[in-house]
Amino acid sequence: MPSHLPSQRDRRRYLLCRTVPEWAEPGPRVVFQAVCEAITTLWGDTGAAEIAPAVLDCGRGYVVVRCRRGTESRMSAALATVTRAGEDRLALRQVLTSGTLHAIRRRMREPTVAGTDTPVLLEGRAFLARRSAGQKVDLIAEEKKSPELLFFTEDDGVVR
């Protein structure tokens, strides 16, 4: 029977990642599968077992993942190779590594107020302009077969 004394529990590290694009809201199960796939392909099954990954929180533009202490560099490399979650493209931008969830939560920014989607016509094609943090404006092509994401800023003079 394993001991439940705090001093004998596994030491854990928590990684805070920002999701890119910011408005992507992947489910925790899909993110966990993406993270596990990245870890297993990079470090193998024994490496994944050592790292013991877990997705603790997912939403509001952030993902919190957990690993064993001492494996965070391997976890960090694997997270950098995540390119999609389920069907959607996704990148996890690492923000902070900490030993406590308290520090992770303190670092989370308040989610930016999502603006309304504005229809935009650009070079004869219809787009939805979705404003996010700072100057960023994402243009989402409204086509049936090949959805395409274009990233513009207000400085580009395209979206006003």
Binding site: T41, R89, A91, Q94, Q135, F151
Partner: protein
């Protein structure tokens, strides 16, 4: 892209075909990539399209091609060496690169995008290239070859990826500064 690069912690980026300048506090270097298979073709592009660029990058080929390209004025970075035939980058080319101050690019995109043995081969190739880099001391750069913000990686992530083939964090940060140092070193038409 510049806004996202700034948020990721980068201070400059090299963009192919973009005019040099500054956007959102990020220095943008105008880069030109030459994909020509012959030295003659590289010289022709260097004379025309690549003339106004801050940074000229040339795709590597076989050993003879690489040796010729390294002697050309205006070439800043030799890229895609991991895709060149084995033996394309020897101690002779390494010494030449060190003498001419031409950087070698470590492409991290295959480490992110590929899985299985193709990625293993790229890691092996990068490991092999890192040995002469340390011995002869020619400059090197790390690149994500990002086409959108989804492909961009922060310096912390780049350091984690370069650790896969044995590059230290200090070396990675030094490599990230190299394009800025090479920018504007265009030395005229060969």
């Amino acid at each position: 892209m510049a806004v996202e690069a700034g948020e990721a912690g980068l201070d400059s980026l090299a963009a192919v075909g973009a005019p040099s300048g500054e956007k959102g506090g990020i220095r943008i270097l105008s880069a030109a990539v030459i994909h020509e298979p012959s030295v003659k073709g590289v010289i022709a592009v260097l004379r025309s399209a690549a003339k106004g660029s801050d940074l000229v990058l040339v795709d590597a080929g076989d050993q003879a091609f690489n040796r010729a390209v390294l002697t050309l004025k205006g070439v800043g970075v030799l890229r895609q060496v991991h895709r060149a035939p084995r033996g394309a980058f020897t101690h002779v080319t390494a010494r030449l690169a060190a003498d001419r101050g031409v950087a070698l690019e470590f492409d991290l995109q295959p480490l992110v995008q590929l899985r299985g043995w193709p990625r293993q081969r790229v890691i092996q190739s990068h490991e092999r290239l890192l040995r002469p880099q340390r011995k002869y001391g020619f400059p090197c750069t790390v690149a994500t070859n990002a086409r959108s913000i989804l492909d961009l990686r922060s310096p912390r992530e780049l350091a984690a990826l370069t650790r896969l083939f044995g590059m230290g964090e200090e070396e990675t940060l030094r490599a990230l500064a190299v394009p800025g140092e090479l920018a504007g070193r265009y030395r005229g038409v060969p």
